[in-house]
Amino acid sequence: MNDFINTYGFLIISLVLQAILALSMYLPLMAGQLSLATPGFYAIGGYVAAILSVRTFLPASGTTFPEPLQSFVLWLGTVFPATPQGQAFPVSLLLVEMLIAGVLCGLLAIIVGLPALRLRGIYLALATIAFVEIVRVVSLNLPITGGSIGIFGIPQPYPTKFEFAWIAVPFLVIVALFVYRLERVRVGRALVSLREDELAAAAMGINPTYHKVLAFTLGAVIAGACGALSAHFINTWNARQGTFDASILILAYVIIGGSRTWLGPIVGAFLLTALPEVLRGAADVQGIPTFLAQFLKDGRLIIFGLLIAFSTLFFPQGLITPNLFKRRGGSEGER
């Protein structure tokens, strides 16, 4: 068991974090909005945690900021004291970082969302890709975000990666419960009605802009907090974390897993994150023919791609659909 944790501990927590990201993209999709902005908020959340815990917000030695800012920065320095070498980063501060990241991303999402969500379909997708690119280029050029190299030496709250489960797993459970309940209350049904037919929903008295921005903002808060946790988890943070590639990958989690129920994105994220790594391990299994081992090793991404292609061909609605639960009394006739 110990071996298992040692080898796969990092992967297991990665699964959980990716599942949280998938849920954050699922939220706007619930309201029918194809938003690819999740990695942008994820990147901002990570930078919040990295900047606060590595204290890159402090002025360079010998320089000062203009006055109100200088006092604020010095105050921030007392809230987030330097973590001495070899000492654990306080978990309480990590939670504070996640909170700050979530709130900041939420506010930003309202500002970005109000104009952006006037766009529909492919145009909204393009606008959100632009947002992700802007975040990337800005962080590439700011000194506080460490430029192209990024911020490294982020202090660790736990001695092993697997112990991040203490935060990541409850976080996923809370987010999943939240989305599960959301699907069954008035606001959630309003979101679904917007997805099914925006005109009809508006005619029923549902405010489309309000509900779309709400779903977008909730997704941003989750992505931001997840980014803050990830920054500690992967030791470093840089402009390569929130990219267009990440947008597409997270979208794939939702599409392959199923975009009609909360369980779909989670299953999709688990499968797509685990598969390449498990195929990596499969090549080292003893007793399988050499050519097969070689193929598993070199061709694992081919297998990965084929599985994605096949599952979209045969299960266009995703692997998990609401119908799966119907027989077990889960049918509420909601759609």
């Binding site: 298992f4 590439l140 192209s148 190299i149 490294f152 030791n235 470093t236 990596r280």
Partner: protein
């Protein structure tokens, strides 16, 4: 449909579980000494990673032919890091659990900042074959590198330019603002220029996607610079060189590492002639080990070896020679994996290695001290289509 969907899911999950189970029961074979190689074999960094794999494999064959570690062969354990941080951590984790004595990798500095702390924690010596960012050896005592940082390599080009034309007074610097490496490289160039007491004209920026540089060039040409330094990639850098020459610039041009490829030849053609580029490795270096390496590489690949392959070779060589010295003092059979790793790290840092890169030693931090750097100048053939890098230092 419902049945088949459930069946598909079930099969998928069971297969994953079975693979994980089998993986854990895999026994470790103790016979050859296993050295991990974690570089990018997939993703957009794979072009570099492939060169590193080739270099490491040449080293594996080369040293095993010469008796390995006192008669015991070495075996490379390759793990793909892909191009991202999570991939690097997964690859490192797999190698650490597989009881390798040390790890060569990862390809990118950003990946190193992410994965190296794990190796440090597990006490596994890591040699970085291509991490050039500031702060890599400082990650921990088990982390060292065989790749000289940009800050050490780049100034050699300026020194070479001053050798060619000692009268240089005014320098114009151009860099691609949207490229990570160019942005950090230009900082080094600018510091070097200022440190040598030369006049730095206002720095000009461009994008790697730009094709027209006349605005930037017109900004600096009236000040008559005698040296132009460009940090960018092949296509944009090549075009910039071409337009500089067409607009009448006749002085020396230094290209950054992004222009260190034959891909610039078709862009600026005959006008590429004379671009000065600093190198950490020269395939023309006349040492016994480098001749053997170049011969093995050319036999397999049909071209001269690039820096990345040479650095990967040097990394494996450092592992093998340090292991041999360790084995001479304390036989490896008497040590368990943790002891081997700890002692190996100490032996790596205290050794002196004659590699294809020249003579290498390390500081106590694990920073490389490379005795020799090289500067090459592009020499285009008369037809303006083909060219080569001629080493001038």
């Amino acid at each position: 449909m419902r049945f088949s969907r459930k069946f598909f899911l079930l099969v998928l999950v069971l297969t994953l579980a079975a693979l994980v189970g089998l993986q854990l029961t895999t026994a470790q074979d103790q016979a050859p000494i296993q050295i991990g190689v974690a570089v990018a074999q997939t993703s957009n960094v794979a072009l570099l990673g492939q060169e590193q794999v080739i270099g490491a494999q040449i080293a594996e064959a080369f040293f095993n032919e010469r008796g390995g570690v006192n008669g015991r062969p070495i075996q490379l354990v390759l793990q793909d890091t892909a191009g991202d941080e999570a991939g690097a951590i997964n690859a490192f984790q797999t190698l650490i659990s597989a009881n390798v004595v040390g790890i060569l990798g990862p390809t990118l500095s950003q990946q190193a900042f992410s994965a190296d702390p794990l190796a440090e924690q597990a006490g596994v010596p890591v040699l970085a074959p291509s991490n050039t960012a500031k702060g890599i050896p400082e990650i921990g005592e088990f982390i060292a590198r065989v790749s000289a940082p940009v800050a050490v390599v780049a100034p050699n080009a300026v020194a070479a330019a001053l050798d060619i034309n000692p009268d240089i007074k005014t320098v114009a610097v151009f860099y691609a603002q949207n490229d990570a490496f160019a942005t950090s490289e230009t900082g080094t160039f600018q510091e070097t220029v200022t440190a040598r007491g030369l006049t730095l004209l206002p720095v000009q920026t461009f994008q790697t996607t730009d094709t027209d540089f006349s605005a930037q060039i017109t900004n600096v040409l009236p000040s008559n610079p005698e040296l132009v330094i460009i940090s960018g990639l092949a296509a944009d850098g090549g075009n910039l060189v071409k337009q500089l020459r067409e607009l009448g610039y006749t002085g020396l041009i230094i290209g950054g590492n992004g222009l260190n490829t034959s891909n610039v030849f078709p862009v600026c053609q005959a006008l590429c002639d004379g671009i000065i580029i600093a190198q950490a490795y020269s395939y023309q270096a006349d040492t016994e080990i480098n001749r053997a390496f170049v011969e093995a590489y050319t036999a397999g690949q049909g071209k001269n070896p690039p820096q990345f392959s040479a650095q990967a070779f040097a990394g494996i060589q450092v592992f093998v020679e340090a292991l041999t010295r360790l084995d001479n003092v304390i036989p490896l059979e008497t040590l368990d994996v943790a002891q081997t790793r700890a002692l190996l790290n100490a032996f790596i840092l205290t050794g002196r290695y004659d590699t294809p890169l020249g003579t290498l030693t390390f500081t106590r931090d694990g920073e490389i001290i490379q005795a020799q750097f090289y500067v090459a100048q592009i020499d285009m053939a008369d037809d303006g289509q083909t060219g080569q890098f001629v080493f001038i230092r």
